[in-house]
């Protein structure tokens, strides 16, 4: 597949406050580079991520949405990420079923110590989304600036 060099995707990363947001901070502290296309939204726990938010992001023109949370078993709230895992699995499967490219959504468990993993994950995810190109299957045409 031809990679479009000029296409800059919009990637929304929802990060739980305790592990992944701290992991993202650690990536920053260690100066690990990843594309500026990634914008992080802080949520208290991965279980706070309502599927509505993901759909809304796609609707408003996001090209990829990723959820990062504590590793299963390490949730600050004990069980939050287990619920998030089921919800996201089913939602992603549904999106796939509707024909939305399944590579546009992802869940990754990143602990507060895994700054490097955070940066790697973002690099890989942005590359994947860039390769897929613009999200056209779940976008709201009213929201396009051009």
């Amino acid at each position: 597949m031809q990679v479009n060099e000029t296409f800059k995707p919009t990637v929304v990363a929802f990060c739980c406050n305790w592990c992944s947001y701290a992991g993202a901070d650690l990536a920053g502290t260690n100066r690990l580079q990843y594309p500026a296309d990634v914008k992080i939204i802080r949520i208290p726990c991965s279980c706070r991520l309502n599927p509505l938010f993901i759909l809304r992001a796609f609707q408003r023109g996001a090209d990829g949405v990723i959820l990062c949370g504590c590793h299963p078993g390490d949730c600050h709230y004990t069980t939050g990420n287990y619920y998030a895992r089921r919800r996201m699995t089913l939602l992603f499967s549904m999106l796939d079923y509707l024909g939305i490219e399944r590579e546009r959504t992802r869940v990754e468990w990143v602990s507060a110590a895994e700054g490097a993993k955070f940066a790697e994950t973002m690099n890989d995810f942005v590359e994947t989304v860039t390769r897929l190109g613009e999200n056209r299957r779940l976008e709201d045409l009213r929201c396009k600036s051009e």
Binding site: I40, N50, Y83, C143
Partner: protein
């Protein structure tokens, strides 16, 4: 419409080098509702905070956005500053343009663009912020210490000293822990029992301390200041209050073949036993796995010889439920199993022992009465080989522990020195990878072992140990001397890595305290909050947090006690106001939220609502206890109608951030 002030921080050059801060503050000035926007070199400095406060007063700002470092760093700082100027602290949002922008991007153009977007998202969120006030909850002025080793004892003593009642829960029949098994302590070589047992007695006699020995924590409910803990008092079949500790029963018990765990199975005890002479409480316990009376109903010797009638074969486990304001985990450590290190022949020869077993072999109260004898044939060993780092500093996974167990270098030096001191006819080899001796008088101690006592320190791990004709053939490499060594040793002592006690993991689950991959409890902050768990009201003492020697354990125990005292001396606690709230008008009462709440913060009431035609309708609706809710938000997603929302991270706020970022 909110009146929002935007404050963009340069963080010196940390932000300003990759982000055009002027462009950011200019762009954000054009956002709706933004009435003031500026940038400054160090927003977190006194001058920066003063500026924010001045603008709040001058312009009557209703919301503040600070574009700076991570909110994990300075959110609290800025909230406090704004509160002083009369703004509700929850009207402040941070846009993280350092850790998540300037530090990770090199291109100034895209960095600036991203910083603007992050700022816009924060502005969009502030528009929907509402002033929040923290609730309050009472504090139960009693502490629970889980684990009765030196860490638990010291913590309990310090808390009791401040006047608060403390319960110690210890799973063994006596408190004292691992330190009771240690012979002498480095680097002063004073006897462990001589310094520990007076503390055990102090704990028993302190009227603020209640020792629950032979007990385990079964369940923990509640939250900081208000824990309810269920404790299982295991049946010891002896009435602790009647038993005088005379020990007659332990002499007369006919069941003699029970491996003695206090001496690590190097000798035997009876089925009814007092773990050791200075045990606290000094009361016997019956081992139900070996007692003939309990197993077959025939015997009863102990009951016959007991002069005070303390024996009770009918005793059952008892469940206690108690309230506490604070909980201290002091569950300690265990040496790892040697199963995976059979190259050292631990399973093949009784003369290969672990360091803790060696402590018992050197101890006057140990199986050999303090004379160092080979477990296999009871002869005096002449050549001893100590192997360090067994199972420590490994690659992780199957091979062993990835961390340094910290205490082995020093206790091995101690063992080597004591052996040479007591038995000058011995040859003692210590095989090491590195000798790590940071600590007061530690390196001096190690040098003395080498220089004064003539211990042979050899750089290099032992490759294998083969038992042959009553000897142990040790093959090792002297890496500095560049020669292969073949030593015919009489004994081999393995400095086994330490690992957290097995009870720690289930306990952590009950406490909702987090653990690292090695099952050590994680601290709230590795540097600044080393004795607190991230779960409020749970504190950490001793080796359950990481490998530690005795002085460090005692220091941490004191620190944990200080934190507990600080908590218990408060009458009320303010709670996190970012909690879930249910909109009763929309709630279906379907119980989905209750099922996912990890804290049991949600209850239901039947409430009357106005129905059509002047009727009233009784409807079941959810209510959140704000003191119990920790604000994870699991309920908000489980709720289909959106009646449940999270204050500070509401559906509308997050949507606004999404919209701002995606546009």
């Amino acid at each position: 419409m909110q009146k929002i002030g935007v404050f963009v921080c340069w963080c010196g050059s940390n932000i300003a080098a990759t982000v055009d801060v002027q462009a950011v503050s200019d762009a954000l000035a054009r956002e709706p509702g933004v009435v003031f926007s500026t940038n400054y070199q160090y927003m977190c400095s006194q001058a920066g905070q003063d500026m924010i406060q001045e603008k709040i007063r001058e312009l009557g700002l209703t919301g503040v956005v600070v574009c700076s470092c991570s909110p994990r760093m300075h959110e609290a700082t800025f909230r406090k500053a704004c509160e002083k100027a009369g703004l509700n602290p929850y009207m402040v949002e941070i846009a993280n343009i350092r850790e998540q922008c300037s530090w990770i991007h090199k291109d100034k153009l895209s960095g600036t663009e991203k910083a603007v977007l992050l700022g816009k998202a924060a502005v969009a969120k502030v528009h929907l912020n509402t002033p929040l006030t923290a609730g309050e909850s009472p504090v139960t002025k009693r502490a629970l210490v889980i684990g009765g080793g030196i860490a638990g004892i010291q913590t309990a003593l310090d808390i009791a000293e401040a006047g608060f009642p403390v319960d110690i829960v210890e799973k063994k029949p006596t408190i004292g822990g691992k330190m009771t098994q240690i012979d002498k302590t480095f680097p002063t070589l004073d006897c462990a029992a001589c310094i520990l047992t007076p503390k055990m007695v102090d704990a028993a006699q302190n009227e603020n301390i209640n020792i629950l020995s032979y007990s385990e924590v079964e369940a923990v409910k509640g939250f900081v200041g208000n824990f309810t803990v269920t404790i299982r008092r295991k049946a010891r079949f002896v009435d602790e209050t009647k038993c005088t500790g005379c020990g007659l029963c332990t002499e007369k018990c006919p069941q003699k073949k029970v491996p003695n765990e206090f001496n690590l199975g190097l000798d035997t005890r009876r089925a009814i036993y007092i773990p050791f002479a200075q045990a606290v409480p000094k009361a016997a316990a019956i081992d139900p796995n070996y007692c003939t009376m309990l197993k077959t109903g025939k015997c009863g010797v102990c009951s016959k010889v007991c002069t005070v009638g303390a024996i009770d074969y009918q005793q059952k486990d008892e469940l206690l439920e108690r309230e506490y304001g604070a909980i201290v985990a002091a569950t300690g450590f265990e040496p790892i199993s040697m199963d995976k290190f059979d190259e050292f022949a631990y399973s093949q020869s009784p003369d290969v022992v672990t360091s803790l077993e060696f402590e018992r072999l050197m101890n006057a109260a140990g199986p050999t009465g303090g004379t160092l004898l080979r477990p296999s044939d009871g002869t005096h060993p002449h050549t001893l080989v100590f192997v360090q780092c067994v199972g420590s500093r490994c690659d992780g996974g199957e091979k062993g522990k990835p961390y340094c167990s910290k205490i082995c270098c020093m206790y091995t030096a101690k063992h080597a020195m004591l052996t040479r001191e007591k038995y000058p006819d011995t040859e003692v080899y210590v095989f090491y990878i590195d000798v790590r001796t940071p600590g007061k008088n530690f390196d001096e101690f190690y040098r003395r072992a080498v220089e004064e006592y003539g211990v042979h320190y050899v750089k290099g791990m032992v490759g294998k140990v083969v038992p042959e004709n009553g000897k142990l053939k040790v093959q090792a490499s002297d890496l500095l001397g560049g020669q292969q060594l073949h030593i015919d040793a009489d004994m081999v002592v393995l400095a086994a890595a330490v690992e957290p006690d097995k009870s720690a993991r289930p306990l952590a689950t009950m406490l909702t305290a987090s653990m690292d991959t090695n099952d050590f409890f994680t601290e709230a902050h590795p540097k600044l909050r080393p004795v607190e768990s991230p779960t409020a009201g749970v504190f950490l003492s001793g080796a359950c947090q990481g490998p530690k020697d005795i002085p460090e354990t005692v220091a941490q125990a004191g620190a944990a006690a200080a934190k507990v005292i600080g908590l218990l001396s408060k009458d009320r606690l303010t709670c996190n106001p970012c909690v879930a709230r249910s909109d009763e008008l929309m709630c279906n009462g379907c119980s989905a939220c209750e099922k996912v709440c990890p804290y049991g913060a949600i209850t239901y009431i039947d409430k009357e609502f106005r129905g059509p035609n002047r009727t009233t309708l009784l409807r079941r609706v959810a209510q959140v206890n704000p003191a119990v809710c920790q604000g994870c938000g699991a309920c908000t997603v489980a709720c289909p109608s959106g009646a449940m929302d999270l204050q500070g991270f509401s559906n509308a706020q997050i949507m606004a951030e999404v919209d701002a970022i995606c546009k």
